[in-house]
Amino acid sequence: MQLNVTDYLIFDEESGTYVENPEQVVRDDVEKHHWLNVFRAVLKDWRLYLMLVPMLLVFLLWRYLPMYELLGCFKVSDDVKSVAEQSYSGFSYFRQLLVGTGSLTTEFWRAFRNTFLLSFYGLCFGFPMPIIIALFFNEIRSNIARSVYQVVTYLPKFMSTVVMTSLVMMLVKQGSLTSEMGVLSQFLVNLGLITEETARAGLMNNPTFFRAIYQISGIWESAGYDSIVFFAAIIAISPTSYEAAQIDGAGKLAQMKYVVLPSILSTIVIMLITRIGSLLNVGYEKVLLLYNPNTYVTADVVSTFANRYGITGTMKGIASAAEMMNNVIGMLLVIGANTIARKASDVSLY
């Protein structure tokens, strides 16, 4: 370990002299007689460490123990035996999922593809929306009017996934003998966007529409709320920047291009990187609530695949293996994104 004088002496502003850095002395002390001193320090500060215990326990028991349980993907699934008692099966489940010939393999690849596509489309269509809305908010000079718009557009965010999906399903429901199709389907038919037969059969039963419904409901739910962070970046821009641009003869578009966008670029980049980091982290609850066997082709994602086989069904090993692959790739993406963010802007996300 390289020692640095400034670690030991810190400048005390009150007395105007250098004094010993107590933290470094403690650290040094610990270094010298390691475990005994660790023990002593913990004992001296036992209240502080006691406060840490509940949190560590919660995370250990309900976040890290499942990771141990994930080892079940390398072992022969058994309903009676615990993970420790099961015998190893090596990579057989992974092989079965990745290079098998059965329907399981096709279903897994389909789920993997859908996971990626749902996120990717979210990135393409869902990501720019909050930025655009924030730019629009900026145009409203009256505070009251802006508050009204903000309150209204944040509103859908406060609904639970269950309520939101229930609403969506009611609005595009199928027509039956006793009742008409949903009001939104009716509207789309009137606009001529979809044919009457498809609307009657129910848009939720049609794999063609699943992705669109997923994305549009996502934008509807969170575009307003997600605009907060961009709007905060926009209002932080100093008015003098605009004035300077105006004096230079910049019109509205030029101001957008040379003042607003450069100022919020770092926020956009950070948000974009976060988004890319969670590319394989599709909200399983929403998919689970919206999909049905008719739409598995476009809707089934890895989590719902795992849910179907591992929780509803009994193929725990296969399901764990699928999630293991998804989550490991997901983790690499997050770590990669975080590293890039740190490099790009000396801000790290965690």
Binding site: V30, V38, A41, V42, D45, R47, L48, M51, L52, P54, M55, V58, F59, L61, W62, R63, Y64, P66, M67, L70, G72, I133, L135, F136, I140, V151, V152, L155, P156, F158, S160, T161, V162, V163, S166, L167, L171, S179, M181, I228, V229, Q246, G251, L253, T267, M271, E285, S303, A306, N307, I311, A319, S320, E323, N326, N327, M331, D346, S348, L349
Partner: protein, 296 residues
């Protein structure tokens, strides 16, 4: 000097107002439609006769809900889960975040990593499910038969929220703490009298995050709570939706109001409490996003 509004600026303003208004109406319309559909007559709901305002007003769908004991049960359960769940998660998070915010804490980096790693990697649904099943068995062996406690204690912890709290605690000037210690305050008192009052708004924000996620919790509650009397509202709504949108189950429906109205009434019931407190909590939400977005 009043600046002349340039043409490009004017056009942009008009576009902004128009599109924002359209978007705001899209956000608002489903809510209004839901309320209207919940109190409209049978024929109007079934044949899409209502556009915005209710038609042939009836309140039977609501009274059917209100007379259903299961509904009140579900509501009480949700309140229970939200209250105790938020209290538990917040308490554990505050203590943990306080300890983590101390520079003198040993293995601080290690503890932080322990926390942050759960944001990078999660075991996934199936292992988590098996884990909760084991927990349930352990809880039952201790005589806690009520699955609600399992949901309260084992679920809903979020590393991100702890990190938000930790950052806020780190921002409290150490001089104040030192002054309190000189005055003879214990660790508990420092936390209670100095740190918590000084981070009130961030604690409110985090409490709100926990509260909303508890109120909205669905998947694990449905998986782990076996007794249907203990189901929270979200599970109740989903089960009713599955029941009421099944054409075969609804073939014999001959009430004076549409079966859909019941679902709409339920949706209204579940969002009304949030709408009531919404004006008070809105500012904390905005704050949470800003501090949660980026940190050094």
């Amino acid at each position: 000097m009043k600046r002349r509004l340039e043409i490009s600026e004017l056009i942009f303003k008009i576009i902004s107002y128009t599109l924002l208004t359209v978007f705001a109406l899209c956000c608002l319309y489903p809510f209004i439609y839901t309320i209207s559909a919940a109190i409209s007559g049978k024929h109007a709901v079934e044949y899409n006769e209502l556009v915005l305002l209710p038609k042939d007003i009836q309140f039977d769908a609501f009274s059917r809900m209100f007379n259903n004991n299961m509904f009140w049960n579900a509501y009480t359960n949700t309140l229970f889960l939200t209250f105790y769940g938020t209290l538990w998660s917040l308490g554990v998070s505050i203590f943990g975040a306080y300890a983590l915010s101390k520079k003198r804490l040993m293995f601080r980096k290690g503890f932080n990593f322990f926390l942050v790693f759960t944001m990078w990697f999660s075991a996934g649904l199936v292992p988590q499910y098996l884990n909760y099943l084991d927990t349930k068995r352990v809880f039952n062996s201790f005589g806690i038969m009520d699955d609600k406690w399992l949901v309260v204690i084992a679920m809903g912890m979020a590393a991100m929220n702890i990190i938000l709290l930790r950052n806020s605690f780190e921002g409290v000037p150490s001089e104040i703490e030192e002054a309190a210690i000189v005055d003879g305050a214990t660790e508990m008192q420092v936390l209670w009298r100095v740190y918590i009052p000084m981070s009130k708004s961030i604690i409110a924000t985090v409490a709100l995050f926990f509260g909303i996620s508890r109120w909205n919790g669905y998947f694990w509650a449905r998986q782990m709570i076996s007794n249907s009397n203990e189901h929270p509202l979200q599970v109740f709504i989903r089960l009713r939706l599955e029941e009421y949108t099944d054409p075969e189950a609804m073939a014999g429906w001959n009430e004076a109001f549409a079966s859909d109205s019941v679902i709409y009434a339920l949706i209204v019931c579940s969002i009304v409490p949030i709408l009531i407190i919404y004006p008070f909590i809105q500012k904390y939400f905005a704050k949470g996003v800003n501090v949660g977005g980026v940190k050094e």
